[in-house]
Amino acid sequence: MSQPALTGSTQSAVPAQSDAGRGMSDLAIRNWFIIPTIVFLIVFNIFPLLYSLGYSFTDYRASMNDPVRFVGLQNYRELLEDEYVWANFVLTAKYVIMSVAGQVVVGFGAALLLNRSIPAKGVLTTLLMLPMMMCMAVVGLFWQLLYNPSWGIVNYVFFTEGKVWLSDPDVALLAIAITDIWMWAPFVMLLSLAGLSAIPPSLYEAAAIDRASRWFVFRHITLPLVAPLLLIAVIFRTMEAFKTFDIAFVMASMDETELVAIKLYKMAFQEWQTGRSCALAYIVLLAVLAITNVYVKYLNRLKAR
């Protein structure tokens, strides 16, 4: 009794499927997937990007209803001649170097430790990744408390009683970089760990048979094989560090902590120099692209080896 019923239902299902297949060709299905994404990208990315490029050649101020005047390259020229803007870029470069170098050292070091067989490795890895799951502004506020000279734990741990961190022009940037390292070293650790676990154990076994030293193994096996993934981590972190805003804005307001993203924010949304800030945004974009390009070329060279 059940056999005919099953056959009947199969028979009725087949024509329905073929109807649907006839209704939409492969090309149509592809378009349904691709076109919304392309439209989204054009409307929300490409169009604003081009629109702001246009504004960067004008004296437009979004807070005023004045007619917009074309000023050519004046905004770019003035920005590149502005000593304050250069100071912001130099400061940002220092911050990127401190922050990314710290993240690589701490993150890669943690990955090397976690690559061994240790108890509760999974729990430890999860715990170490918690900082990067937190909101950046919250991390900034949280570390502001840790740096408090009177009762913050940082001074207690380092035996630096009463040391002022965030209002001292000499150490404020370092203090922010340490916070960024704490937050993002786990990201470097994660990618490094992926690279380390992909190294075939046979290579280490061969090195052990040849009685290679630990340094030799690290220098000629571990590092070269992890390098591509490590470099990807560095590319991502450099781009992000270059754009750092939240942590630095929340933690300190020193002249010595005014990164280029903060300068851009002030210019665009406090001073409402819209045209000029668009030009600065393009200069930042070009700088990030240039740095990324160098990294990518180096990455390709590494892969080619």
């Binding site: 000279p149 209002s167 406090q270 001073e271």
Partner: protein, 436 residues
Amino acid sequence: MLKALSRIVAAAALLGLAQVAAAQGQLTILWAQWDPANYLQELVKDYEKQTGTKVVVETTPWPDFQNKAFKEFTAKGSAYDMVVGDSQWLGAGSTGGHYVELTEFFKKNKVAEVMAPATVAGYAEYPGKSGKYWAIPLEGDATGFSYRKDWFEDPKEKAAFKAKYGYELDVPKTWKELGDIAEFFHRPKEKRYGISVYTDNSYDALAMGIENVIFSYGGDLGDYATYKVGGIINSKENIEALKFYKRLYGYTPPDWGKTFFQEANQGITEGLVAMSMNFFAFFPALANPTTNKYAKVTGYFASPKGPTGKQFAALGGQGISVVSYSKNKEQSMKFLEWFIREDVQKKWADLGGYTCNAAILKSDAFRKATPYNEAFYQSMFMVKDFWAVPEYAELLTAANKRWHSFVVGGKGTADEAANGLAKDWEATFKKYGRAK
């Protein structure tokens, strides 16, 4: 699929129509998120009872306030019918076409005669002395001080102070006395500090704190009519004031380099400082025993006099303006007519709002209503403000950069900071064609 789409479009259109209809029966006011906005929301319930028009006070956190308001202006949005804007916004609000001119309203309702003169000049008139008005003074405010009465009145402290400085320890009458008292109570080993002053340079906190001293020292920010700043912003008086502010910063608790109203109150509520500079609008929290365990021993005083007897306070507070893009401009005007009525102003003051109505301010009932009202009353007749030109934010950024570097960062000298700022401001005014 077409049917489904058309249903969605129809539903969205109906929703839009419903929202427009709802918006026409209500007025929306944008203000910052703080206690006075809650008092205003309480006050406007009376307006709804009397007229049937609902008034909503929409608030946004202080750091986002200016940004949110100007984004709405830029989009020519009608989400807000009125905005309680900072005094510095007057230039951008008026010349940018975002505010409705209220000069006729002022004349018809004699607003300039009813409100305290300094509040009319500070919150409503632009350009200065032009007779053109763009806002109704709503929330008066100025910088003042809170202090620990129990520390000041302690006989041992009084004796030690007199022995050291040669005069009685009391509420300071001059900035010099204030400096001495801050120095006297500054005892880092006891985790007790002299004073809290504004140092945050992300908006106007530091500038308000420093101009407070500059004005009383006989200095100024520039010539508001000609936009001349050279020789004024870097005058001898201003340089002395700047040095004095740096001296005060030396008596603040550690890491006090990014402080505004929250930290200023925290200095008192945590028993850290002897005196704390803050806007009066934040004093209610200090008088409340649930938020300040030292409420009973906290006193208040107005900004003291400078070396030549001049006495000023930095203007805070805001006026209420009608947004040009509002669809309810007439209703908004009717609301303003209601708001300036003396009985409404009286209720506004009773609720905790700082009225700008001169008669109410001068009344004994107002001056004795809270422990800080007397000091507020004194301050509102000696207030002076920062530039209100459309490019005020650029002037503020430059001032923050120069002054913060010197006061908090300890870089360079007061002369260098003042001369550098004069150069920056001259360049800004030149860029906008104001100065030759």
